[in-house]
């Protein structure tokens, strides 16, 4: 469970934007990952270190979604990014 103060740090991995979709190349898994629209937006927002709270606020504002849904979705995406070795999460 991520807290509001949790810091998200994107790792230096190669990635490319094509037709508004992000493709990330993970050197750790040697696999490529194609992100959907929301995940692509999140990826671009975390290019600098950012708190979970701030990122969540921006997500809610940008997509005009319910707080609870946004919180759950964002957490899920970040957990997946972390699992794939794409970000670090610091409490």
């Amino acid at each position: 469970m991520l807290s509001s103060k949790t810091k998200i740090i994107r790792k230096k991995v190669p990635w490319q934007e094509l037709d508004e979709k992000i493709v990330i190349l993970s050197p750790v898994t040697r696999m490529s990952h194609e992100l959907n629209e929301t995940s692509s937006w999140i990826w671009k927002e975390i290019q600098q270190e950012i708190s979970f709270e701030k990122l969540l606020g921006q997500l809610i504002e940008n997509f005009e979604v319910d707080d609870v849904v946004a919180h759950q979705d964002l957490q899920e995406v970040l957990m997946i990014f972390q699992e794939k070795g794409l970000i670090e999460i610091n409490d």
Binding site: Q16, D19, V23, L25, E34
Partner: protein, 301 residues
Amino acid sequence: MDLISFSNPILGQKKLDLLEKMQTDLFFNYRLTLEYHGVLVNINASRESILKLVLHLVPPSWIMDKSNDMNLNLNLCSIKDFNISGFDWENEESPECRTTQVDNQEMAIQRDFAGKMVGNTIYAIINEDMSDGFFNVLRWFMPRKLLAIKKTVLHSSCVVINEKAFFFLGHSGHGKSTLTTLADDRLVLGDDMNILYEHHNGYYAQGAALGGLYNNKSLLNLNYPVGAFYWLCKSDENKVEKLASAEAYRKFISSCANVFWNQKDNQVEEAMMKLSLDVVSRYPFYNLYFSLNKGFWKYVK
């Protein structure tokens, strides 16, 4: 190197130890220079039989008159130099190539070879009675050297139709080699590894001297302009679907062979990404669902 993942870690360690020993205990008096797909390589072998193997596998036109210190140096020795049998050398279950980087050295261990690369010098131990080890040494390091001269090795089969080359990509077991067995009288450049390179503002295909079923050295100097790329899916029916750019990019870049994404080497990553972006912007990419009844060829054009 993490040897725990080997089924035979003792053999893995032995291969690493022999890589050190070969540099001090052996002499590489048998030499020739090749222009390998445009990369100049001095081959220095411990035995004449190793050079004979190399000469058997490459076109005569690739052999150069003299060596040059600026060339790549590939120092090859045989398991026979260490009195090891082929059975003992390949007594490892996994066929994967494992690499590790220590300071400025890269080591690679695979079932049929062991290699070490320091800058432009490579040391490798192979079983000269089989060509697989030699080709796997090349597959390990050569794609990165070819990338430096703007050529990329694609894990692919490649067939020529109406003077255009069509690349067939896909994971292992998805039909790249099978498709070539269904080619009839169409020219097959390669069934496993092929080279893509830019020339005169377009991209061209060439069979790669990296092994495979179609190890025909007489075809290795042929090159054809690229027509399209197909990602293979075995199916009961034949059909094509055009791919969107992001999916095409992902499938293309996953087919670039043995680049060994290395976070310390941004140049390789950047070169691959730039090339991939350029290729997908210029050429159509499709999913090709194909069955064994050969009807899929009508979609390849």
